[in-house]
Amino acid sequence: MSGFITVMGLIMVIVLTVLLLALLASLVRVVRGPTRADRLLSVQMMSTVGTGILLLMAHYGQQPALIDAALIIALLAAVINAALVQLLRAPRHD
């Protein structure tokens, strides 16, 4: 049984590592761009990956409150996208 549990732990670590590497990879998009939307796309990606990591950590570290944090991050990534579109859009020439 103990062997079974360590396999599970290993899978958990593998998945967490994959997600963290995805987070690091999204930085490439911020650096290389080339457009503004591209750079903000990486924020969207980080929020999706970050929610995944938080959910896994909530299970792994027995901290159910992290699920709430994941919920908030998902919500506020959407707010940031909306803010970009509203604030940095070229104003209409009327």
Partner: protein
């Protein structure tokens, strides 16, 4: 190297590269995006350091509000060229900060393990505070003075912004998709905020996280032009901004005059009083943060 250590090292690497990106990008927009991403990742660090309260607060404040603030500041900036300082000066500063880093690092690493006495004291007396969650107990009972002053800082910041001559600009008309989306998102943030406030008594959450969350929902409505105007000249708005500090001060004075002393809640009443203060503080924080970030000339300077 253990699995946990590997995870920590990756996380630390991520944070350092994000910070370097935020600090040393040539383009201002890139720096802002890096900074938003840094806020998101710091939430992961707080989660790792078993501080879920902070993860919640950072997710709401560091990732959401600060991002909107910086993006709206970016809008007003002219395309000012970034003039770096002389290389010799930069090098000097790098050497100075490097030496400081080594000195402080050796000091902090040699600090003894174990919790400070006051932390232990707080943990031991949570049961007398009226709430089960130790951090809420510290914020609203043991160190309520700090929290009261903090609410005043929020009000002060808003008053400070009122003194400035703000640019009077109009946002473009929002796309229908954005309107529909924010009509969905704003009630959701209110719901989630109330949920966090309610959970704050016995689990991570509380007035600040809830206030920041509701504030960002309100801010989003302001950005797309759906929110009713909140002019400072209206007495209701002023009352709502000051509600948190007033309630707190009233409770403090009442306990001082009729009870055992300044902010020493009478036994049996503490849960109700804490809840009262928290609800008032949440409303004030939400409105103040939304106005700090999103109100313009018409609303703040009459």
């Amino acid at each position: 190297m253990t699995a946990d250590g590997f995870f920590d090292a990756l996380l630390a690497m991520l944070i350092v590269s994000l910070a370097c990106g935020a600090l040393y990008s040539r383009s201002l927009y890139r720096a802002v995006v890096f900074f938003i991403a840094l806020g998101l990742s710091l939430a992961l660090v707080w989660a790792r350091l078993s501080a879920p309260d902070l993860a919640l607060a950072e997710a709401a404040i560091g990732a959401g509000l600060t991002g909107v603030l910086l993006l709206s500041a970016l809008k007003h900036q002219a395309a000012e060229p970034l003039r770096p300082m002389r290389p010799s000066f930069q090098l000097l500063m790098a050497v100075l900060t490097g030496v400081t880093f080594l000195l402080v690092l050796t000091t902090v690493w040699s600090m003894p393990a174990g919790m400070a006495q006051v932390g232990q004291l707080a943990l031991n007396s949570v049961n007398d505070s009226g709430v089960e969650h130790p951090i809420t107990a510290v914020l609203l009972n043991f160190r309520a003075w700090d929290t009261l002053l903090e609410l005043l800082v929020v009000v002060l910041a808003l008053l400070g912004v009122r003194q400035l001559k703000l640019p009077n600009d109009r946002l473009p008309v929002a796309w229908p998709l954005l309107l529909a989306w924010s009509k969905l998102l704003a009630p959701l943030s209110l719901l989630l905020g109330v949920y966090l406030l309610w959970r704050g008594a016995d689990a991570p959450g509380g007035a600040f996280q809830a206030g920041a969350l509701i504030g960002s929902g309100l801010l989003m409505l302001k950005l797309v032009g759906l929110a009713p105007t909140t002019p400072w000249s209206h007495w209701g708005i002023r009352l709502l901004v000051l509600l948190g500090s007033f309630t707190f001060l009233l409770v403090a004075m009442a306990t001082d005059v009729f009870g055992a002393g300044w902010l020493t809640y009478p036994p049996g009443w503490n849960k109700a009083l804490i809840l009262l203060i928290e609800v008032a503080a949440t409303a004030s924080i939400a409105l103040s943060l939304a106005m700090l970030a999103g109100s313009d000339h018409r609303e703040l300077n009459q």
